[in-house]
Symmetry: C2
Subunit: 233 residues, 2 copies
């Protein structure tokens, strides 16, 4: 069975001892009942994995000995999914979890013409990314950006390959037919799709229109389908 695995963004091998956060200390000692000598794994979310063992149990300040460090290279494929905030938070959170499992490297929430203004709780959303990263045994945490307006995203987009998925009845490409790229951004619209003006703006800025299949997908499904097709090319 895999070692208990936790995220601690300040852990490093610069020091041999590390004090776990209160949350991790509590989980180790109260929930998992780990005692002195028990082994665990830590990641800083930047590719570094640390094997460690408990030298001093404390429900708020457990201290571990860092025994080994492995550094995993950053994913070769940079996949940025820029997706409109959704009315339904739990659907957006499902997307965050699935996108992380699949290997998306950046998530850019968007405010679009058809988005109802939604409060964005960065810490909560980031917590979902962390949990999904740990669950899928990865060591690179996707970057979760603050929400920005669609036109700002489009204007500042510097990705090598820029794609927009929309529902209007227009000529679109299949992702599988496009040349593979290691630096991709895909724009995913809200429940009501992008507005006509938004689509035009993106196409004028060099975004390639793509089809995600023959069926009408919910926004969070579109995000997961796009992530799969791009990461798996």
């Amino acid at each position: 069975m895999a070692l208990p695995f936790f995220y601690e963004n300040t852990v490093s091998a610069a020091s041999t001892h590390f004090t776990l956060s209160e949350e991790t200390s509590k989980h180790c000692t109260q929930v998992l009942r780990m005692r002195t000598g028990a082994a665990l794994q830590l990641t800083d979310g930047r590719g570094n994995l640390f094997k460690a063992s408990i030298i001093s149990e404390d429900k708020r300040k457990t201290v571990v000995l860092i025994e080994e460090q492995t550094s995993l290279p950053a994913p070769a494929k940079k996949t940025n999914i820029a997706i409109a905030l959704l009315k339904n938070n739990s659907r957006f959170e499902w997307f965050l979890e699935k996108a992380t499992e699949i290997g998306v490297t950046e998530i850019q929430p968007l405010l679009t013409d058809h988005t109802e203004h939604t409060r964005f709780r960065h810490d909560r959303m980031n917590g979902i990314l962390i949990a999904a990263m740990l669950q899928s045994q990865q060591a690179w945490l996707p970057v979760l950006h603050e929400p920005i307006a669609f036109n700002v995203c489009v204007k500042n987009a510097t990705h090598q390959q820029k794609l927009i998925a929309h529902c209007e009845d227009e000529q679109k490409n299949f992702i599988r037919d496009l040349p593979a790229s290691n630096d991709v951004q895909v724009l995913i619209g809200p429940e009501g799709d992008f507005s006509h003006e938004e689509i035009r703006l993106a196409l004028d800025a060099g975004f390639i229109p793509v089809s995600l299949g023959n069926t009408r997908l919910r926004a969070e499904t579109a995000g997961v389908v796009a992530a799969t097709l791009v990461v798996q090319r």
Copy 2:
């Protein structure tokens, strides 16, 4: 805006009048407040779409006039996802919804070595497929089979292309590299993966081992990723 769209599995154009089910009658009259003359669309889940209008409102027995029928051909691609029942019902239900949106045509719940026996509520699960079909504006309802044991599924599998996704460290193929097929079944294991014996049984029966990417996916994510990669080939 699209017409209100409902599922009625007994509707046909054989008769010009049709009495809506109690559930649909209630939804039309009480929730949507539709009155005599209001237009709606119905599907029987077997590719038939009917345009209709209300001729007699009743919260339990609304009668509609069938005005038009369109028949959509069955999807050319038959995609059967055989997926282990999961401990967490809501994750399994999420998979059902997404699989339907993506265009999966059959879902075969499996009982596997690592599956905890889970009660399977066919009506409830079918209701999720129906809602997802309507939401994604489709007219073909995926077939939801009763759960069967893994070895029975493998023994009786007659699909042209048979795939198994597993997590063991072995030679696997990428779905994109396999020849396209219009008759595919993919086996997806439970949270603890298929057992070694199950994998061997499937390989001996001609199932091709496939990789769903470089990361460790939750079972329901694996189902959605496999569905995407197969339907979108």
